[in-house]
Symmetry: C2
Amino acid sequence: MKIIKVRTKPAYEIEIRGGLLTDLAQDLKDRGYGDRYFLITDSNVRQLMAEDLLEMLREAGLPVEILSFPAGEASKNMATVVELARKMVQAGADRRSAIVAFGGGVTGDIAGFLASIYMRGIAYIQIPTTLLAQVDSSVGGKTGVDLPEGKNLLGTFYQPRRVYIDYAVLGLLPLREIRQGLAEVVKYGMIKSQRLFKYLERHSGEIMQLEPEPLEHIIAESCRIKAWVVSKDEKEAGLRRILNFGHTLGHAFEAASAWRLPHGEAVAVGMVAAAKISEKRGLISPEITHRLENLLTSLGLPVRLALELPVSEVLTYLRSDKKARSQWPVFVLVRDIGETVFDPEVPEAMVKEVAEELGCR
Amino acid sequence: MKIIKVRTKPAYEIEIRGGLLTDLAQDLKDRGYGDRYFLITDSNVRQLMAEDLLEMLREAGLPVEILSFPAGEASKNMATVVELARKMVQAGADRRSAIVAFGGGVTGDIAGFLASIYMRGIAYIQIPTTLLAQVDSSVGGKTGVDLPEGKNLLGTFYQPRRVYIDYAVLGLLPLREIRQGLAEVVKYGMIKSQRLFKYLERHSGEIMQLEPEPLEHIIAESCRIKAWVVSKDEKEAGLRRILNFGHTLGHAFEAASAWRLPHGEAVAVGMVAAAKISEKRGLISPEITHRLENLLTSLGLPVRLALELPVSEVLTYLRSDKKARSQWPVFVLVRDIGETVFDPEVPEAMVKEVAEELGCR
Ligand SMILES: NC(=O)c1ccc[n+]([C@@H]2O[C@H](COP(=O)([O-])OP(=O)(O)OC[C@H]3O[C@@H](n4cnc5c(N)ncnc54)[C@H](O)[C@@H]3O)[C@@H](O)[C@H]2O)c1
Ligand SMILES: NC(=O)c1ccc[n+]([C@@H]2O[C@H](COP(=O)([O-])OP(=O)(O)OC[C@H]3O[C@@H](n4cnc5c(N)ncnc54)[C@H](O)[C@@H]3O)[C@@H](O)[C@H]2O)c1
C-alpha cells in the first residue's frame, strides 16, 4: 500500500492498494464524507463492476444510489451533467450527499464537475479504474466537459476528498487502454524522474503483465510527480505546463487525425517529437531520443505516426492552441531525462521538419 | 462616490456612483481585466442600454463583443450557459478574455457561472442594473442556474474582479422591480443595522423618488453589510445564514404560490412572519413588528399575503428546504432591530399560526 499526499487547498490523500475496493465500505463509514452516496459510473463499468461495488456498500449499510451514463467521450457533455443532476435532485440529494466517481477519466471528469456545481459544491471521491485515470486524470482536480467546438472547454478546478486506486481492476481493461496510461507514465519519467524512467526500462515486461508490485510502484511514482506539480501550481499558471510534455504536438496530431489517433499514442509520438526538437535545439544528444523510442516500443507504444497526417493541419492546430499565450505554443523540451525547459521560440520550420520525420506529409 | 471592499479570496471592490457607466471604458483600460471583453446581457437590457454601452466601449478602442439571451428567469438554465459558451468559443474567446455581466440578477447569475466554468475560470466583472442585483445578487460570488426541479440548484462560488454600480440606470426600471430590491434593503437593516433601518424610516419618500443621495447611501450600506457577512463566511457554512432572514418563510410562500408571488414581496411578508415568530418566542415586543410593517408599507411592499396560500403547502415546503440541516429549518429571528438569533426549535404549530395570521388558509 502507498499513500500520496496532495498539498492543494484543500489537501487530500491518494491511497494505492490492490484489492482496496473490498474494504472500501468500512473506510467510507469511518471517514464519513457524506450522509448519502451517489455512485456515478459509465455503462461499461456499471456492468463490469459497479453493480458489485454497490451491493457491497449497501450490505455494509451505507445509503448509496447508482447513476450511470453511456460509456465514451461522446457522453462528456453538459447534457449528461444536467441529467445526472436532475436524477440526484429527484432522489433527494442535498448538500451533505457525496459523489463517488467510479470509472475512467470520462467518469471522473463528469462526476467531479457535477460535484463542483451541485448546490454549489458537494464532497466527492475518485475511484479511477483505467490506468490513465489512475496516473493522470484523478490527480489535480481538473474537472470538465466538452463542447461541440472542442474538448474540456467548460469545467472547474475542484479537489476530491480522497482518491482510491485499486490496480486490481486493471485486469479487466483492454491492453490498448493500458497503453494509453503508460504513455503518461513515461512522460512523468521524462519530465521529472530519471529513476522512474530507468525503472520502466528495466521492468517493462512485468508491467505489461500487470504484475502488482511494479504496477503499484509506477502508479505511485506517477501520482507523486503529478501531485507535486499541481500542488505547486494549482490553477495552471506556470509550472503545471511541464505536464504538457509531448502533448503540444500530441494534441495537434490527435486533432489532425480527427481524433482517430488515440490520446496515449498521439502523446507517445508527441514525446518523440519533443525529444527530436530538443536535439535540434542542442539540448540533448540523439541517445536520449533513442532510449525514449526503445522504452515506448517495449511498452507497445508507437514512435511514428500510424496515419499519414497533413503537416499543414498540424501547424494550423498549433497556432490555435488554447494554452498558447501568443499565437505559437511554448514547447516543453528536455535537456536530460527528468529535466525540462520551456522554449517559446521553436521555429515553425523545425516543427514542420520533425513532424515530417515522424510521418506527416 | 463610494467604494466598498469585499474581503473574500480573492478580494475585490464595489464602486458605487451615479453615471459611472460613462467613464467605464477608461477604467477597464486602466485595470485591464482581459485582452478582450464579452458583454453578456438579456434582451431587454440589450435594447435599453447595452447597445449604447457597447458603442461607448468600442469607441474607446476596447475589443468587445455583445451576447444576449431572452430576458427572464426562464432563461436561467444550462442551455443558455452552453449557448453563450459556444458563441464565445466561436468568437475566439480564450483564458485571457473577460466577461462583463450587464443586467439584473438573472444576467449576473448566468454570466458569473459561465465565467467560473469557461476554460475552468476566466475574469468577470459585474454591472448590476436592477436594485435587487445592486444590493444583493452582485455581492457575494454566488452564481448559478436553475433546474426544472428547483432554483439555483447548479452553480459555483466565484468572485468578480470588480462590481460597478451605476444607480442612474434604475430610472428605467419599473417601480415594482425597485420594490423587490427595497425588500432586501429593509432586511439588511433588520439583521445588522439599526441605523440603516432608521434612515429608511426617515427617507422612504426620497428613496421612492429615486433621489441620488439616498439611493447611493442605501445601496452602499446594503453592500457593506452583505460584503461583511460573506467575507466572514464565503461558503455559507454559518453566519451567512443570517441573510435568510425573512427568506425561510418567504421562499415557502413563493413556492406555495407556484412563483406567482414576486420574490421581494414574498420576502416582505416573510420578514413580518419572522418578526411575529420572534415576538411569540419572547424575543421582541410587538412595537418592532409594527415599525417593520410601517416601513414596508411606506416603501410600497406588502405586509400580508395578497394570495390565499394553503398553509399545508407552505409547511411541506419548509420541511424540504435544501438549506435545512435536519428536516426542519433553523429560523433567523431578531431580538432587536439589527440583532439576529438562530432558532432551530420554532414549533411547527407556531409557524402555522403566524402563516394563517398573514393570510394563509
Ligand atoms: N482531469 C484531468 O486532469 C484529465 C487528464 C487526462 C485525461 N482526462 C480525460 O480523461 C478522459 C479519458 O480517460 P479514459 O481513457 O479513462 O477514458 P474512459 O473513461 O472513457 O475509459 C475508457 C474505456 O474503458 C472502460 N473502462 C474503465 N475502467 C475499466 C476497467 N477497469 N475495465 C474495463 N473497462 C474499463 C470505460 O467504460 C471506457 O469504455 C478524456 O475525456 C480526457 O479528457 C482528464
Ligand atoms: N447570486 C445571488 O446571490 C442572488 C441573490 C438574490 C437573487 N439572485 C437571483 O437574481 C434573480 C432576480 O434578479 P432580478 O430581479 O434583477 O431579475 P432580472 O435579472 O430578470 O431583472 C428583472 C427585469 O428587469 C429588467 N431590467 C434589468 N435592469 C433594468 C433597468 N435598469 N431598466 C429596466 N429594466 C431592467 C430585466 O431585463 C428583467 O426583465 C433571480 O434569478 C435570483 O435567483 C441571486
